[in-house]
């Protein structure tokens, strides 16, 4: 087929094609995901003359992404759609595709593979980045949305014991709020011990715990933490949604 002959030349003969279903050919090219799986690219002739081609992934990219990441929030959808739009890739029921002509097939294929890589890496928004940025995001939120309550960062309620630290103190009222972020089991244990210490020291306070995500804690850690804290937000998203109103109620009363 002329289309494939031309493409082979453009790829320096390093590609081949496998007819997976009638008229749908899988491109076998040295373009791989990090784990060694080949990036799924399919070619389909869209006219009788063989001049126009649809490059698609047959929905494989979103299937692969769903192993560990779901596009299940408006924000994630926005990012997903922006990547597609910026790169002139269309989507239909999960199938990502570009319609092109035989003359621009090679650059369109290279571009398509790059977009697949970008979509595949959306999982990084959840895992590495968001987990490691939890405290930075918490700080950013507090310093923008809760600034009017004059938060004090890194506060030591028992001055002679700096090992008991709270992430933020809001002391614009006689009974201050101690805010602690928790993104791991060890942070949960530390928050539990700290709250108990403050109680033992007869400090008048109200504790607010922001969990990065409730799923990251074991039942026992969660039970211990909930028994000593006054208020918990089960996720950072929940805190972003409801935290401001909570502080309005607490600190303006």
């Amino acid at each position: 087929m002329k289309l494939f002959d031309e493409l082979k030349i453009q790829f320096n003969n390093r590609v081949s094609f496998q007819e997976k279903r009638p008229k749908i050919y899988q491109l076998l090219a040295p373009i791989y995901h990090e784990d060694g799986d080949m990036i799924d690219i399919f070619l389909e002739l869209t006219d009788g003359e063989g001049r126009n081609v649809r490059i698609s992934d047959q929905g494989m990219t979103l299937m692969r992404l769903s192993y560990s990441f779901d596009i299940d929030t408006p924000n994630k959808e926005k990012i997903f759609n922006r990547i597609l739009k910026e790169n002139h890739v269309s989507e239909e029921n999960g199938n990502l595709y570009i319609d092109t002509s035989i003359d621009s097939l090679y650059p369109a294929l290279m571009h398509f593979a790059q977009v697949i890589g970008k979509i595949s890496n959306m999982r990084l928004y959840k895992r590495e980045v968001i987990h490691s940025l939890f405290f930075e995001m918490l700080e950013e939120f507090i310093e923008t949305e809760l600034q009017k309550y004059k938060p004090i960062k890194k506060y030591y309620p028992v001055p002679e014991h700096e090992e008991y630290e709270v992430d933020y103190c809001f002391n614009s009222r006689p009974k201050p709020i101690f805010l602690l972020g928790v993104n791991s089991s060890s942070r949960a244990k530390l928050a539990t011990i700290s709250c108990l210490k403050f109680v033992n020291e007869n400090i008048n306070f109200r504790s607010v715990i922001i969990l990065e995500n409730i799923d990251i804690l074991g039942k026992k850690d969660l039970a211990r933490l909930m028994s000593v804290s006054d208020k918990e937000f089960p996720s950072f998203d929940d805190f972003k949604e409801n935290g401001k109103k909570y502080f309005e109620r607490e600190l303006q009363s």
Binding site: Y32, D35, G36, G59, M60, Y67, S185
Partner: protein, 164 residues
């Protein structure tokens, strides 16, 4: 924490029970069907997740994976049982492609470097369909009560109730 091969193996092989069961039927989502479940180790505090995906048009393209959630760290994919979806290579820089059903397994190097995708690839002839892969997977990762939720892939022997 520093991962070792022995620790990874212990995570894969520890006895597990289903705490959040899969749905009876796989759910259609875009161009694939999916099911998921949550497991609890019977030997340690750790939790595990299993994902099951199969493409609706290309049924040879499926994946069954085991994720580990420690109390401290992020979720990591320990294993992925894949169908025969196309070429696969051990080293994308020096590719020596091969086809076939294969298993991706994470290594201590992967996890200690923070790599999410399991890079070790082992070809397998233990399964040649999604159903066979499920059964092999459940036994491989030691899910003790999988037969309760996947009766269609486990059979009982007629006379001694043994599950095979």
């Amino acid at each position: 924490m520093d991962y070792t091969e022995a620790y990874i193996e212990s995570l894969i092989k520890c006895r597990k029970a289903i705490v959040e069961p899969p749905t009876k039927e796989m759910k259609l989502e875009k161009k694939h069907k999916r099911n998921d479940m949550k497991l609890k180790s019977l030997d340690m505090d750790d939790q595990f997740y299993v994902f099951m995906r199969i493409h609706i048009d290309f049924q040879e393209n499926f994946s069954i994976g085991l994720l580990h959630q420690s109390l401290e760290g992020p979720k990591n994919i320990l294993l992925r049982f894949n169908g025969n979806h196309g070429q696969v290579v051990e080293d994308p820089i020096k590719p020596n492609p091969h086809f076939g059903y294969h298993i991706h397994k994470t290594t201590s190097d992967d996890l200690n470097n923070g790599f999410f995708e399991p890079k070790l690839i082992v070809s397998t002839s233990e399964y040649a369909s999604f159903k066979e892969a499920l059964k092999y997977f459940f036994n491989f990762v030691n899910i003790t009560d999988a037969y309760k939720h996947f009766r269609h892939i486990f059979k009982k022997k007629l006379f001694n109730n043994e599950i095979i």
